[in-house]
């Protein structure tokens, strides 16, 4: 099965991008070649390092489907740009524009009049048999007759220097965001070169794209959103990135709801009309009611809204029909019939086997070509691809193919195996060549299609035909299209002439996004708390007790870690009896174990939640989370290393502090902040109340040790000793940790913040007007304010502090009710399912 595909037969005839036939550098590469030649090898390596650091810290990833979200493979970038000469670019630009127009015209016809099929220009089978011919959309004309708002083609250079079209995308083309990110990184990696060469800028294209689409809603008011399949999609990074860049709300199917004949966004302030959907979700998944019923990603009823003309879909639903490789064979016909034009660029020679001639020709070419399903537009040789390499077929497989051709040849195509042209790469101080495919994008505007002056180049890791799918580990390059004249350096998103409406905040934030921020803050806070508890045990296990009156490791583990099940009762009992070997192993596992219920699991949860919420996080915040969740953890060795472990935990504490600081200083005081901080305050109040319960609810033999432990975990030891010297007593400790509204670690402080936030929460929907968050939080505030530290510290005959326990129970209950009230009024959504 894992047999490597052969080298391209024509690999030797590859077009040389760098050198002409006389061996001289082609002019558009001269400046780069000179600059690279002048660079010391270390310097190039350094630039790679800093570029990769940018890629890593910006969180540019590409999810491979069976991995968990947020754990996607790092985006592979080759920092050397691919340069296209002005002449080549002019041709490509014209060809992509022509193809985009053609794709749109074909879709308009197959979902409309059906002239192409009736006149025999395109075989009926290629439309009626196409799984992406969405019958629910037949007869539906999109606004202004625009089906294809964004279009892409994949090109590769043939041996003679001509460009050949390998694939086109008209449903939900991907790669735009990655192209933009590549540009950001590479232009910063070679700033001088980028400035000198006269490279076309990309920003204008994105503005055109966004403004043209939103312009189609003809002033109908409503949100413009970017619909993503969600964090599990391979290109989620790009969706979040594009949404930010284009100024759109990033939404998933669950965020939208159809009522009547309109589609709405579920926001904090209730439902808000959506007028434009930039769709990154494949068409057939868009509506489980009328399209694929098994789609959990779409919006039930969406097709009805489209039919009523109440939403602009970009791209319109059903564009997959023109992506089929079988249709490639009929595009020249269609171009002549629709426009009277010849195509500027040709496709890979393709035979559709649905005719007598096609069957014979297909069989004749099968051995030296590629056999595949006529409607399979997926990347060649990707995991789900139907493509079979003719040279791999056994005689028996050829016999079966012949039989299949007899019965149902309409679903088969055979195309030639066309070698990819080469992209220059710079390795070890010398130029070499890698097979390359170039994706170029066009966007619709009222004045015709415009082409993004650049693109996404993908280079294969080796020379095999199977190597070019991004899922199998190829790398990408930034594409520099050189301008003939001066470049348009416009780089802002807003058109300079239009006055931007000044806005301070909005309640249009999707509920799901707020839910994610709320939980991100809770997980981050929970992490910090766990680290502090673990560190207290580790310090004591390592013999650093800090003071003679302090509790020993065993007692601390029993009080703090046992209730959370991070250590077992047996381990604590053995340690109490003098053998702490097992306790050490378990504590280490709680810190470093990848599988254990412990710190690493919590850090993964932080990373995953941040990944889903990343369109709401500033780049710096994202980097702080990256630093926190990617600190070099030690491998659990089974040998306890007190110093190394303490250092690791100290690093994490500093990084959580950096994250909190960024949130405090940099998050605008709008809804993002509100829900983030609510999450943090609620979680911290829970944690501090629990800490007091586990240390002080029952008096111990050495009460001062318990008090010191509580102060240490709550980071309040300095304040305490400043106020009370070394008199460790229960009442002042309880006051400082629970009742003192000036201590940022005290429960009272958290409640005060929650009450403050409750006043800022949007009050729009009926359930929000009930104001339960405020009611519960204020109730708790009153309860805490009226508590008296000395009464709370009093012991009953069983040496328990019953007043304290009652207060802690009340705090716990009220916090739960507050958190539920936040969820009910603002965050929670009803589940839906197939009837």
């Amino acid at each position: 099965m894992a047999k490597a595909a052969p080298l391209f037969p024509q690999a030797l005839e590859r077009y040389d991008e760098l050198l002409d036939r006389s061996g001289a550098l082609r002019p558009h590469w001269e400046r780069l070649a000179a600059s690279f030649a002048a660079m010391a090898p270390e310097e190039y390596a350094q630039r790679i390092d800093s570029a990769m650091r940018m890629v890593r810290e910006n969180g540019v990833t590409y999810n491979v489907y069976d991995e968990a979200p947020g754990l996607g493979r790092l985006w592979q970038l080759d920092i050397m740009p691919f340069i296209i000469s002005p002449d080549d670019w002019a041709l490509i630009e014209a060809a992509v524009t022509q193809r985009a127009r053609l794709a749109n015209a074909i879709l308009l016809d197959v979902y409309g009049e059906g002239r192409l099929v009736r006149d025999g220009v395109v075989p009926a089978q290629l439309v009626l048999g196409h799984p992406q011919y969405l019958r629910a959309l037949a007869g539906v004309r999109p606004p202004d007759g625009v089906h294809v708002h964004l279009f892409s083609i994949d090109l590769a250079r043939a041996g003679d220097g001509s460009w050949i079209v390998h694939a086109s995308r008209a449903d939900a083309p991907t790669g735009l965001g990655y192209a933009l990110e590549n540009r950001v990184v590479v232009s910063q990696t070679f700033p001088e070169l980028f400035g000198d060469l006269g490279v076309h800028r990309l920003a204008t294209f994105f503005r055109h794209y966004r403004d043209a689409v939103t312009g189609l809603c003809r002033g109908a008011s409503g949100h413009a959103v970017l619909l993503t399949p969600g964090a599990y999609n391979e290109s989620y990074f790009e969706h979040a990135y594009l949404a930010r860049y284009l100024g759109l709300q990033l939404v998933e199917g669950d965020d939208l709801v159809v009522l009547g004949e309109s589609v709405y966004l579920r926001t904090l302030g209730g439902l808000e009309r959506v007028a434009v959907i930039f769709r990154r979700l494949d068409s057939d998944f868009a509506d489980p009611l009328e399209l694929r019923a098994d789609s959990a990603l779409g919006v039930p009823g969406l097709v009805d809204v489209v039919r009523a003309g109440n939403v602009v879909m970009a791209n319109a639903l059903g564009g997959g029909v023109v992506e089929s490789p079988a249709l490639d064979a009929y595009l020249p016909n269609a171009s002549r019939a629709l426009f009277g034009e010849e195509l500027l660029l040709t496709n890979i020679p393709t035979v559709w086997c649905g005719t007598d001639w096609g069957r014979a020709e297909g069989l004749a070419r099968a051995r030296r070509g590629v056999v595949r399903n006529a409607f399979d537009a997926g990347p060649l040789f990707s995991r789900a691809s139907s493509a079979r390499l003719g040279s791999d077929l056994s005689d028996e497989q050829i016999a079966r193919l012949t039989d299949e051709m007899e019965r149902r040849s309409a679903t088969l195509i055979v195309h030639d195996l066309v070698p990819l042209g080469g992209a220059p790469a710079f390795e070890g101080g010398a130029f070499t060549t890698r097979p390359m495919s170039l994706r170029v994008f066009a966007a619709w505007t009222p004045n015709g299609y415009v082409v993004m002056p650049g693109g996404l180049a993908r280079v294969a890791a080796d020379e095999t035909v199977r190597a070019l799918s991004m899922q199998s580990g190829a790398a990408s390059k930034d594409v520099w299209a050189l301008a003939r004249g001066p470049v348009d350096t416009f780089s802002l998103l807003r058109p300079p002439t239009a006055r931007v409406e000044i806005r301070r905040s909005g309640n249009e934030a999707p509920s799901r996004a707020m839910d994610n921020l709320f939980w991100l803050a809770r997980y981050a806070e929970r992490t910090e708390n766990l680290i502090r508890m673990l560190r207290a045990v580790v310090l004591r296990l390592a013999g650093d007790t800090g003071s003679t009156t302090a509790m020993n490791a065993t007692t601390v583990a029993r009080r703090l870690l046992l209730p959370l099940e991070h250590v077992t009762e047996e381990a604590v009992d053995e340690a109490a009896a003098g053998d702490d070997a097992r306790l050490r192993v378990e504590v280490e596992a709680a810190i470093f174990g990848k599988e254990a219920v412990g710190l690493q699991q919590l850090l993964r949860r932080v990373a995953r939640t941040a990944w889903i919420a990343r369109d709401r996080l500033s780049l710096d915040t994202w980097r702080a989370i990256y630093a926190l969740t990617n600190a070099d953890a030690l491998e659990p060795l089974g040998v306890f290393d007190g110093t190394g472990t303490t250092a690791y935990l100290d690093t994490l504490i500093r990084r959580t502090a950096a994250l909190s600081g960024l949130a405090d200083e940099n998050m605008t005081r709008g809804n993002n902040w509100l829900f983030f901080d609510l999450g943090r305050r609620i979680e911290r109040a829970f944690a501090t109340a629990r800490l007091v319960r586990h240390t002080l609810a029952v008096a111990s033999e050495r009460e001062s040790g318990a008090i010191q432990l509580a102060l240490e975990i709550a980071d309040s030891a300095m304040t305490y000793s400043y106020r009370y010297r070394n008199a460790f007593q229960a009442a002042p400790a309880i006051d400082l940790l629970l009742l003192d509204g000036s201590n940022p670690r005290a429960v009272a402080f958290q409640i005060k913040a929650i009450v403050g936030h409750a006043l800022d929460l949007p009050m729009i929907t009926e359930i929000q007007h009930r104001g339960l968050v405020k009611t519960f939080a204020e109730g708790l505030q009153g309860r805490v304010a009226s508590a008296d530290a000395y009464e709370l510290a009093e012991l009953n005959p069983a040496r328990e502090r019953s007043a304290l326990i009652a207060l802690l129970d009340d705090i716990d209950n009220a916090l739960k009710r507050t958190a539920d009230a936040v969820g009910d009024a603002y965050l929670r959504q009803l589940r839906r399912f197939q009837a």
Binding site: R118, A124, L128, R832, F833
Partner: protein
């Protein structure tokens, strides 16, 4: 023969449903042998909005949105239909299956575009080696297409066990072949997949069947079920129906509701509800013949 048909679907939800959008394929079609006289759907609770629309295949679909909180939903479809018996076509009058297939190649005749779309697989009915081998046995060289499908229909009837427990509405042809069992939906899928894999056109038909009580017993109200069979494009006759569950050609006792590429195109009721939790469905069908027209 005239019939009054009532088709009652009851959903019982574990918790309240706050909003639902439903699409139903419940209205009997007009065909050469069938005349629907009346058709009515009643919902409880009543819908906020309803409308009817023809789908791509020409079936009448009924659309409902309900925004009233409920934990029981009842959909009652009542129709009154007249059906003429089939004049049995003579197998030898049909063309060879190879020539029918060849005609699909250049569908210059616009009338061929309609059957052409039923020559392709669907996810539920995708073909495989088992299906090809099974179909081939009935498609001898040069044999009239009608003769091929009649034999196929009888073979499915004898080779597949009718078993209500073996499958559900999402069972694929591949699974049905492994089980060699299923309900009328599965047997119809097997039939159409076998015809399609030979490059010919077959569609899925949903409807009702008049059932006969055992001798000496009363008809039981509500004991009938919705039924399904398949139909094949057989020139010069056009579409001819085959019921593999009963090994018959549907005639005056089969009432046609809707057709499509497979079950999913014509599911009696499907939709999306918000809320609801777990749910149970109960279906009761009653096909009542009228003594006189």
């Amino acid at each position: 023969m005239n019939y009054t048909i009532s088709h009652r679907t009851t959903y019982r939800y574990g918790s309240d449903v706050v909003y639902s959008r439903l699409v139903a394929h419940l209205a009997p079609r007009t065909t050469a042998r069938q005349r629907p006289h009346t058709f009515e759907v009643t919902l409880s609770p009543g819908p906020l909005k309803r409308f009817a629309r023809l789908d791509f295949f020409g079936n009448t679909t009924s659309w409902f949105t309900i925004d009233e909180r409920h934990d029981v939903l009842e959909i009652l479809a009542e129709s009154h239909v007249g059906v003429e018996p089939l004049a049995e076509p003579a197998p030898e009058l049909s063309r060879s299956w190879e020539s029918v297939r060849a005609a699909f190649e250049f569908p210059t005749d616009p009338q061929l575009l309609e059957p052409l779309q039923y020559t392709f697989d669907t996810p539920l009915t995708a073909t495989n080696d088992d299906v090809v081998a099974y179909a081939r046995q009935s498609f001898g060289r040069g044999r009239p297409l009608l003769a091929c499908v009649l034999e196929l229909n009888s073979r499915i009837h004898s080779d597949f066990t009718f078993d209500k427990e073996a499958t559900d509405t999402q069972t694929t042809v591949k699974e049905a072949f492994e089980l060699k069992a299923g309900v009328c939906q599965d047997l119809a899928h097997v039939g159409l997949a076998a015809v399609r894999t030979m490059g010919l056109a077959a569609r899925y038909v949903s409807g009702y069947l008049l059932t006969h009580p055992p001798p000496g017993k009363e008809r039981l109200i509500g004991a009938d079920a919705s039924h399904a069979w398949f139909s094949v494009w057989i020139p010069p006759f056009g579409w001819i129906d085959f019921d593999p569950t009963n090994d018959v050609l549907p005639s005056g006792e089969h009432i046609t509701v809707a057709w499509g590429r497979d079950y999913r195109d014509v599911a009696p009721v499907h939709g999306i509800v918000t809320g609801g939790g777990d749910h149970e469905v109960d279906v009761a069908v009653d096909v009542m013949p009228h003594v006189s027209a």
